[in-house]
């Protein structure tokens, strides 16, 4: 299979993934190629697969420039960087990495809730800067029993609910349609959900419909004591609105793993003590990244050996 060209469109996310791909295929790292247009012209014939992730995948323009593209294998569960309609049109297979990262992302969502409510990062800085010698830290606020509202009750949303229940948090949710087999309280709109919970979590896929699902109205409904947790995608949130709400105190706090324009984070947030800012580490454990890489490689191998794909989307 060494002659099969695989184009990695994102900055290499993981050394193990790169190593495993280079063992089996001819891997092109698009991100570090200076003259991309020239490169594509010269190599388009050999490129039969694309590997992407949350930062870059395969948009319509790229797909158009790759006449022999057969499969897009994403190092993520999110598919927002892939033009699925175009893939469907061309008969291009698409795979992602569901299930293997569900636990890590859900763990991090709870970790963010605890870090924001109990001011873990501030506490750690308080000790390291020597301030504890001058006096006690302040009171924060209890996490157990706070109501948690989840947008999107897929694998990750359900995993978050299960964990939050262990802290006696009442769970409510919003999805496009109410789920009949679920015991949590349903709200038909995000605004209503935000108005009726203390911690709001974004756990849905990013699509045309869910872009800016967290807007000014939702933020105001969540309110000065409310906390927003985003482990979805940056564009789920109207970022300038979020920033001004946090700075003005109209929103109580936020735990954010994703941003509109990663790795750039609005600097107004750096001085706030009621936010926790993470560099998109939702699936960022050694154990999970290896499983994700194995899925990406496994899917590509299956395709080129004419075997059933492991985790197909298309």
């Amino acid at each position: 299979m060494e002659s099969i060209g695989v184009l990695m469109t994102c900055p290499p996310p993981d050394p193990y993934l790169v190593e495993q791909l280079e063992k089996r295929f001819t891997l092109f790292k698009f991100h570090s190629i200076p003259d991309k247009a020239h490169f594509l012209n010269s190599n388009k014939a050999s490129i039969r697969a694309v590997v992407g992730n949350a930062s870059a995948g395969a948009d319509a323009q790229l797909i158009h420039q790759l006449p022999n593209l057969e499969i897009v294998s994403s190092f993520s569960v999110g598919l927002d960087k892939i033009d699925l309609a175009k893939c469907r049109e061309r008969g291009i297979r698409v795979t992602n990495t569901p299930d293997v990262l569900t636990d890590d992302v859900a763990d991090l969502a709870i970790g963010l809730m605890l870090a924001v409510l109990r001011r873990l990062c501030q506490s750690d800085r308080y000790v390291r800067s020597g301030q504890w010698k001058r006096g006690d830290f302040k009171l924060t606020t209890k996490f157990t029993g706070k109501s948690v509202g989840i947008i999107g009750l897929g694998r990750i949303g359900l995993a978050i609910a299960k964990r939050a229940e262990a802290f006696s948090c009442p769970i409510s949710y919003h999805t496009r349609t109410e789920k009949s087999d679920v015991k949590y309280k349903y709200y038909p709109s995000v605004v209503e959900l935000a108005a009726n919970c203390q911690i709001l979590v974004v756990a849905c896929a990013l699509t045309e419909e869910t872009r800016h699902i967290i807007n000014r109205e939702v933020i105001n409904a969540l309110g000065p004591k409310g906390v927003l947790i985003n482990i979805g995608r940056g564009p789920h949130v109207d970022e300038p609105e979020l920033v001004s709400a946090l700075v003005e105190g109209r929103l109580g706090g936020a735990g954010l793993d994703v941003f509109q324009d990663e790795p750039n984070v609005p600097e107004e947030l750096f001085g706030l003590e009621n936010v926790v800012l993470l560099p998109h580490v939702g699936s960022g454990t050694m154990e999970t990244r290896k499983e994700m890489a194995d899925l990406v490689v496994g899917n590509l191998e299956a395709h080129f050996l004419n075997k059933p794909l492991l985790t197909p989307v298309l």
Binding site: L114, R118, F137, T140, K142, V265, E267, G284, M286
Partner: protein
């Protein structure tokens, strides 16, 4: 006219009493005085009441002794610790030597409110023959001479489970922070390094980790219940095996450490647990192991733990307590696999007010001859 004056005085009196919630006691006291000496006119009874009884009322109240300042009271404000059945007597406000202070006030001291740092020894109890109850703001009772209390028939009430949720939450928060590098990567982002230096190093998955709980009391149980929801396996070591618990029990902390990936210290500090977590236990925990301490600093041999961290003998630590607070070993400041907090596991208004309700509830129950809310019984 005399009746009017009487009425004015009586009304002023009752208003003062109502404002301070002592109406009932004082009115009873007036009636009693009037009955004892029928020759006293009503007016003089009332005047006496206004000038002496009311002012004395508070002085007559039974006293609850506090030996050292209690931070839980300071944080919420003394107005939240007020009662119409008793008053607090602060030994630390007096310039008298303690023994003299106690001897002077002993007839009126009916109860003691103690925090974790205030030893209630047989010596102190000996000076207080009227004490009927010791109420603590701590869950642990290591500072109280329990056998002496038992001998004297003194009831003991602790903080029950008011702190369990907050402390358990904090333990889980510290653990996720250490494994997933939450505080470290938050700092990384705030310094603008994500844009310039790239992705932060990977963390370690929580799911599937084997958790060893040291001390399976209310707090230990609350930690276990939470971590089970993350797909963790639970085992424990305690003074005694717990009969109705399905988690595997290990006879020694060392054995527990050898069979788990994370140790969470949830026990009390006693002579037996002091420096119980030492180099041997940490070596058994191993190079991938993580320790979380929300108990007391001295349960861990701090010097040996720091050395283990420096030498990579364990993978990380989440620490809310230290041997000599607020001093923290400086070697820890340079480590990003360590999360530090300034003894704040119970620092929420909810916990502080729940404690206030429990402490005041226990004391008021005692002074009303009702069962205590959180009586400690072997």
């Amino acid at each position: 006219m005399q009746t009017d004056t009487n009425m004015c005085v009586l009304l002023k009196y009752i208003t003062w009493q109502n404002r301070h919630g002592f109406a009932e006691e004082c009115l009873v006291s007036i009636k009693r005085k009037g009955k004892k000496n029928p020759l006293l006119s009503r007016a003089s009874v009332l005047k006496m009441a206004v000038s002496t009884d009311c002012h004395k009322a508070q002085q007559d109240f039974p006293k609850v002794l506090i030996l050292k300042p209690i931070s839980f009271i300071a944080h919420v404000g003394e107005q939240h610790y007020a009662s119409n059945k008793f008053t607090f007597l602060k030994a630390y406000d007096s310039s008298l030597p303690l023994h003299q202070f106690l001897s002077t006030h002993s007839p009126s001291i009916k109860a003691i409110l103690a925090s974790v740092g205030t030893p209630i020894t047989a010596d102190i109890l000996q000076l207080l023959p009227e004490v009927g109850v010791v109420v603590t703001t701590s869950v642990g009772l290591n500072q109280v001479d329990l056998p002496e209390c038992r001998r004297r028939g003194i009831k003991v009430a602790n903080a029950g489970s008011v702190f369990s949720d907050d402390v358990a939450d904090f333990a889980v928060g510290l653990l996720i922070d250490v494994l997933r590098k939450v505080s470290a990567s938050d700092g990384y982002v705030r310094k603008g390094l994500w844009a310039t230096k790239g992705d932060y190093p990977l963390g370690s998955k929580l799911g599937g980790k084997r958790i060893g709980i040291v001390g399976l009391g209310n707090i230990g149980f609350a930690v276990a219940k939470r971590l089970e929801a993350f797909g963790c396996g639970i085992s424990y070591n305690s003074r005694k095996r717990k009969p109705h618990v399905s988690y595997p029990f290990y006879e020694s902390v060392c054995e527990l450490a050898a069979n788990c990936d994370v140790l969470v210290i949830c026990c009390e500090l006693t002579d037996q647990t002091r420096h119980m977590i030492n180099k041997e236990v940490l070596s058994a925990l191993g190079k991938q192991g993580v320790i979380v301490n929300i108990g007391r600093g001295a349960i861990i041999n701090e010097k040996e733990m720091v050395q283990c961290l420096v030498q990579g003998e364990i993978a990380g630590a989440g620490l809310d307590v230290f041997e000599n607070e607020p001093d923290v070993p400086v070697e820890l400041f340079a480590m990003d696999n360590v999360v530090l907090s300034p003894h704040v596991a119970v620092f929420t208004p909810e916990s502080f007010l729940d404690l206030r309700d429990l402490v005041m509830g226990n004391l008021e129950a005692f002074f009303s001859n009702k069962p205590l809310l959180s009586e400690y019984g072997d």
